[in-house]
Amino acid sequence: MKNILEVRNLNKSYKHFSLQDISFSLPEGCITGFIGVNGAGKTTTLKTILGLTSKDSGEIRFFDMNMDTEERHIKERLGVVFDSGGFYAELTLQEMKALAASSYRSWDEKEFRRYLERFSLNPRQKINTLSKGMRMKYALALALSHQADFLVMDEPTSGLDPLIRRQLLDILREYMERGGRGVFFSTHITSDLDQLADMLVLIDHGKIVFQEEKDSLLERYRIVKGDVQDLSDAVLPLLHNLSRTAFGFTAVTDQAGEIQKAMPGAFLERASIEDIMLCRIEGGDKYAASAD
């Protein structure tokens, strides 16, 4: 399978924050969730790979083309959705569309009209009169109306109600039905990814913690519940996010087999992406596993 995006040793320093040796690659046909807490570096990474901020070092390749030398060709094939749109809110939908469309050679006006109808958007309406959900739908209509091969979305579900989030996820599934495409989707709302993502990339304090298939992560991690008396020195290193109460303990482990051997009486259940994220980030061990 070909890679749509490859990031190698990307570095970017600010006064109080830096991206350090960011490397990951996204294969085609994959919806990838880019997860991390607020301030972990998700937006900075997205901005840097889109060329909105300069990088200190590293290489970014889309569709096997170098971003430094073929930025314009690459951007023809990207669809971009920013948190809250990133539009001139005083313009109408039609005016903003004309501005975006004129930058693409492959703009498909019929497709755009189809999306506007589907989302019940009036092209004469001003952007500042749209709700957050409608803005997101409009941003999607713009991003999907030029035969984009790869969608880059920064926190698209942030602040949206569950119905609109579900609609958005359906559209992304539909988009992926035609092969050879990909979606890179940053979010801190990990529940969206439970249903949708094929791959997860976790970033924390400007460093990539892991890149892994979602199913294999969910298969490996388990929430462990048991009696506090069963917690021996041998099992403690196998547990993350350990929380003790008068009734027992809850923790997360990626060593389910070892735990079962050491504590046959313990209950093991599937962990959520949020549990996994919290047990892998710095400072996340203060927070107990969420399952009850």
Binding site: F82, F87, Y88
Partner: protein, 214 residues
């Protein structure tokens, strides 16, 4: 491509453009009403200079205030296949369009009120030079330091220039001040203004390509 970017600036600032257009129409008539006789022609030209200069200055402030209001919008445009160079050049063309609009309004007024004096290259080119100087300095500073700094810097700079101008004006060629300029000087003035704009645009593109977008 550039056309849509220029149209965007017009759409974002159209209320202001209408207001300034109305003032540009009204002010020479007002001057003509107040000053008659031999001084009317000079007063008319002065009205044209003032209105053009302030129209461009306020257009600069207004357009970049809108960009500062929507910082993610310019980042969004740069995430599309637009080059940053396109965004910068569209701004230069837009402001030169405001200058041409001022010229057109004043030319029509001189046809209606011949007392205002004629309007030709000897009026248009020196003002073009002044506009080029304003744009040539303002835009690179704006792209390097951002809206807030540039706004205050130029407010104080223009105030300072108002005091320095009387000292400086005595060194200018008398024909430039009387707008009776020979074709050679006009051509030199026009070409040097174009050169200044080209150098300024290159500097603005350089700064904007290095800018960290929101």
């Amino acid at each position: 491509m550039l056309l849509q970017l220029i149209k965007k600036d017009i759409l974002l600032t159209w209320k202001y453009l209408l207001l300034m257009g109305a003032l540009c129409c009204f002010y020479p008539f007002f001057v003509h009403h107040q000053i008659s006789g031999a001084a009317a022609a000079f007063a008319g030209t002065l009205a044209f200079i003032l209105m053009t200069f302030f129209s461009i200055l306020f257009a600069l402030l207004q357009a970049f205030q809108k960009e500062a209001m929507y910082p993610k919008a310019s980042a969004y445009l740069c995430a599309l296949p637009y080059r940053r160079r396109d965004l910068v050049l569209a701004k230069y063309i837009y402001f030169l369009g405001v200058y041409l609009g001022c010229c057109l309004i004043y030319w029509l007024e001189t046809l209606i009120l011949p007392d205002l004096g004629g309007f030709g290259l000897s009026e248009a080119v020196p003002i073009f030079a002044a506009v080029s100087l304003l744009l040539g300095l303002y835009l690179p500073v704006q792209y390097r330091f951002g809206y807030e700094f540039t706004k205050y810097f130029f407010m104080f700079a223009i105030l300072g220039i108002s005091f320095l101008l009387p000292m400086f004006i005595k060194y200018l060629p008398p024909e430039l001040l009387s707008f009776r300029i020979g074709p050679g000087l006009l051509a030199a003035l026009f070409l040097s203004s174009l050169g200044l704009l080209a150098a300024s645009a290159a500097a603005s593109v350089y700064f904007y390509e290095k800018a960290e977008l929101a």
